[in-house]
């Protein structure tokens, strides 16, 4: 029988038992969102309310996220300067939220973008730049904090996307339980 993995949002927390009864077979926590403290409390709530349901924790790793504090509406052809954390060549297309919103880098400082459609930018929205390899450590300090928490609370699976090398931190390659 095919299982259902539910990525838990804060609004789902009061319904853990109901979701389990409805058919949820595993809980997924997306480490890109919410605070480390929230993840810890949520893992404890899962263990206490639905103890036999496995937990899958997604580690953001090298996925780029938009560092803005509030929702920002944008219009087609609007030009906007944004805090892009890496160097991107002029003319490159950036895809936000898996391509639902796109923009082209138009300035020499690589941080000024022209948007292609109407839409809205949200805090920690995903950004993808096809063809660009992100340098730097595979795991951030925040990732390691979440991994330590997962280990302490015996999370069942860690999921790491966007690895560029196969030999990664052994703390991620082992099944924790």
């Amino acid at each position: 029988m095919t299982g259902i993995i539910v990525t838990l949002q804060p609004s789902h927390l009061p319904y853990l038992k109901d979701l389990h009864a409805a058919g949820m077979t595993m809980v997924r926590l997306n480490g890109s969102h919410n605070t480390v403290d929230w993840h810890g409390k949520t893992m404890q709530a899962i263990r206490s309310e639905i103890p036999n349901t496995p937990i899958l924790l997604d580690i953001p790793g090298r996925k780029l996220r938009l560092a803005i504090e509030t929702i920002l509406p944008v219009e087609a052809n609007q030009i906007l300067e944004l805090p892009i954390p890496i160097w991107i060549p002029q003319g490159t297309t950036i895809l936000f939220d898996d391509g639902k919103l796109t923009a082209t880098v138009i300035s020499e400082n690589q941080r000024t973008l022209r948007f292609h459609q109407n839409g809205e930018l949200r805090p920690r929205m995903s950004m993808n730049i096809p063809g660009i390899t992100i340098q730097g450590p595979l795991l951030t300090k925040r990732d390691l904090e979440i991994i330590d928490l997962a280990q302490a609370l015996s999370v069942d699976y860690l999921d790491l996307g966007f690895y560029r090398i196969l030999k990664i931190n052994p703390r991620c390659t082992q099944t924790l339980r």
Binding site: M1, T2, G3, I4, I5, V6, T7, Q9, S11, H12, P14, Y15, D18, L19, A22, G23, M24, T25, M26, R28, N30, L56, K63, L95, D98, G99, S126, N128, P130, Y157, D159, G161, F162, L166, T173, T175
Partner: protein
């Protein structure tokens, strides 16, 4: 996709992350890549999951049912729902419906 065999060999579970994969490998190749990943996971005897977007059209339409049936037919051990899942109590209703759909397939 180039390192699929090595990844499947070392992983405990393999996830088809369709959002990112569509961008990296092309939207029109997504189902072909999904099939390749699920087949490779099976070859290495690893559990597999496919996500997400199954509930983007909610209530589900024929295309949603075809997508889910196809993932199950290709051997996905589970489906992942994420931002496509409604907020709060409505999520319970959506999971109930998805579970009912999965149980109705004669595979």
């Amino acid at each position: 996709m180039k390192n699929l065999d090595d990844i499947c060999k070392h992983a405990d579970m393999v996830i088809v992350a369709r959002g990112d994969l569509s961008i990296e490998c092309g939207l029109f190749n997504i189902i072909e890549n999904q099939k390749k990943i699920l087949k490779t996971a099976k070859k290495f005897n690893k559990i597999s999951s496919v996500g997400t977007g199954f509930l983007t059209l909610y209530p589900p339409q024929q295309s949603t049912i075809a997508d889910i049936y196809n993932a199950v037919l290709d051997g996905a051990d589970s489906l992942i729902v994420s931002g496509d899942l409604p907020e709060g109590e409505k999520a319970v209703e959506a999971i109930t419906l998805l579970d009912k759909m999965l149980k109705s397939f004669n595979l």
